[in-house]
């Protein structure tokens, strides 16, 4: 397979760089982005060719920035797009889908998409050690995929992460370091680590390549809808990169001829009120996010106070005609239960954020009830059980006795937790 990447390009000044592990422009510190030869890609891709390939993220490999075949995470992606009629009824809308990366392989979050690209790239660049700054899901994914690839890993997280996300990192043999501080402190430290050690840090010096992996989430949505884009997509925002990459994915598909009509999808971003730098900036009419020094929310995977892509996330929401909202911890927990009880999908807290924000945007009239909506679920509820442990009902415990059970049935011991 030929490589369609021309190099890297600064998103601010357009300065070109060769393919190398570098995330920012030397002249203005702007983010670097992968620069593709779309005309060449258009020549070689078509729907039939892609549909013959296995259903995973690499079926779109011409639009992903690796040389040759992927060497890490060859089975990542290909997650279900669920038609969510029961949830639609609960929300009072007509056409609703859930893109479910809670079952992404191997570590149950959309992060496997970005990590497979980043670690394939790390190998191309010859790194023997990789790492990341993470709020948990990325830690799990880097640890697992590095183990499978035979790479050493150093992973940095805030010290107060959910226990499940800690265990799900150490189990793979990663060197995990907890940092006494916020995610932003961890992130800043990792930039300094990337400067000092010759490692492939997936979301620092490998970030231009890493971030491209998220596009596969958007490619799959479009293909699963029959090679077209929906009218509305609601996505969680942590660093603010994903919503931009979904938008980019839709437009790339059009550019290379895989979808016929120019995308008109409105993109909405979701945050927790306890850490809402991007939605606060958007709602205040600013073109930039408003940094939050001390995030405080149960949605720890979204607790980034100073998101790297805040500026671009606001731009995407505004330019597509979408919007952004934030919700309380109580609304997040309620939405997690609602998704579980209508669609049988146990999403992590970030999924609760996305669904609760969707509900809010529908109630505000920003998303019309008769149009097509896709909700992005990016992580699995098994990793954030603490967040709802006190919200779900206590279950009955009885003797193995039929009359005891009859008493439970009659007693109506279940107390509804949904408001």
């Amino acid at each position: 397979m030929s490589d369609f990447v021309r190099g890297l390009k600064c998103r601010l000044c357009g300065k070109a760089y060769p393919k190398k592990p570098l995330n920012y422009c030397e002249d203005d510190f702007g983010p670097l982005e992968v620069d593709y030869d779309y005309d060449a890609i258009r020549e070689v891709v078509n729907r039939g060719k892609i549909e013959l390939r296995p259903f995973n993220m690499w079926r779109y490999r011409e639009l992903l920035p690796i040389d040759g075949e992927p060497t890490v995470g060859p089975l990542v992606g290909g997650t279900p797009l669920v038609r969510a009629d029961r949830l639609a009824e609960a929300l009072g809308v007509q056409k609703l889908w859930v893109k479910n990366d809670a079952v992404n392989f191997p570590t149950l979050s959309f992060k496997d998409r970005v990590v497979s690209v980043a670690l394939s790239k790390a190998r191309e660049f010859g790194f023997d050690t990789v790492g990341c700054a993470s709020t948990g899901n990325l830690a799990n994914s880097v640890a697992a995929n590095a183990a499978q690839a035979g790479l050493k890993s150093y992973i940095f997280v805030p010290h107060d992460l959910e226990q499940a996300k800690i265990l799900n990192t150490i189990v793979y043999g990663a060197n995990l370091v907890g940092i006494k501080g916020t995610y932003d402190d961890v992130n800043r430290l990792c930039s300094q680590i990337a400067d000092r050690y010759n490692w492939g840090l997936v979301n620092v010096n490998l970030r231009p390549f890493y971030a491209e992996g998220s596009k596969s989430f958007g490619f799959e949505i479009a293909e699963q809808l029959g090679w077209r884009t929906p009218q509305h997509v609601v996505s969680p925002m942590a660093g603010g990169s994903l919503i931009g990459k979904i938008h980019k994915a839709f437009h790339e598909l059009y550019k290379v001829g895989l979808i016929d009509r120019e995308p008109k999808c409105k993109i909405y971003g979701a945050q927790a009120t306890g850490c809402n730098p991007i939605t606060a900036g958007l709602k205040a009419g600013s073109d930039s996010h408003r940094p939050v020094r001390k995030p405080n929310t149960i949605a720890k995977s979204l607790a980034i106070g100073d998101p790297a892509d805040g500026y671009f996330a606001i731009k995407v929401m505004k330019e597509t005609g979408g919007w952004g909202e934030d919700v309380s911890d109580a609304e997040i927990a309620d939405a997690m239960l609602l998704l579980a009880r209508t669609e049988g999908i146990f999403a992590e807290t970030a999924g609760g954020v996305t669904l609760a924000v969707t509900k809010k945007l529908i109630e505000q009239g920003r998303i019309p009830r008769d149009e097509e909506i896709v909700i992005c679920i990016t992580g699995n509820g098994l990793k954030t059980q603490d967040a709802i442990a006190n919200v779900v009902e206590r279950h009955a415990v009885i003797r193995p006795n039929i009359d005891d059970f009859a008493a439970v049935l009659e007693g109506g011991r279940r107390e509804p937790a949904l408001v």
């Binding site: 601010l12 570098l22 995330n23 920012y24 030397e26 002249d27 203005d28 510190f29 702007g30 983010p31 670097l32 700054a133 993470s134 709020t135 990325l138 995610y183 932003d184 402190d185 992130n187 800043r188 990792c190 930039s191 300094q192 990337a194 400067d195 979301n203 620092v204 970030r207 942590a238 660093g239 990169s241 930039s288 940094p291 020094r293 980034i304 100073d306 998101p307 790297a308 500026y311």
Partner: protein, 90 residues
């Protein structure tokens, strides 16, 4: 004892290839002005129209200066000032 300014790798070519420079100054602004006076090619890379560029973060002893007093944050001998690209993270 002066203030130690840490230079990110991609900018060191404009600072005699040094990883850090010792400078004087009573505020972040003064220290960075002194850095610019010593290495003029750095000024335009950090500042645009007198403001810090959007994707440049400055830390004073591990705290982002936006949570202190921005460029006016007071500096004292022995402080460490780090210039760090903002483009990283999840």
């Amino acid at each position: 004892m002066p203030i130690k300014v840490q230079i990110p790798q991609a900018m060191r070519q404009h600072a005699d290839n040094q990883a850090s420079v010792d400078l004087a100054g009573a505020s972040v602004k003064e220290v960075l002005d002194n850095l610019g006076a010593k290495f003029p090619n750095i000024v335009g890379r950090i500042f645009e129209n007198g403001q810090l560029r959007r994707f440049v973060n400055i830390y004073l002893n591990d705290e982002d200066i936006r949570y202190l007093d921005n460029l006016q944050s007071a500096t004292k001998d022995g402080d460490v000032l780090s210039i760090i690209p903002a483009v990283a993270g999840v």
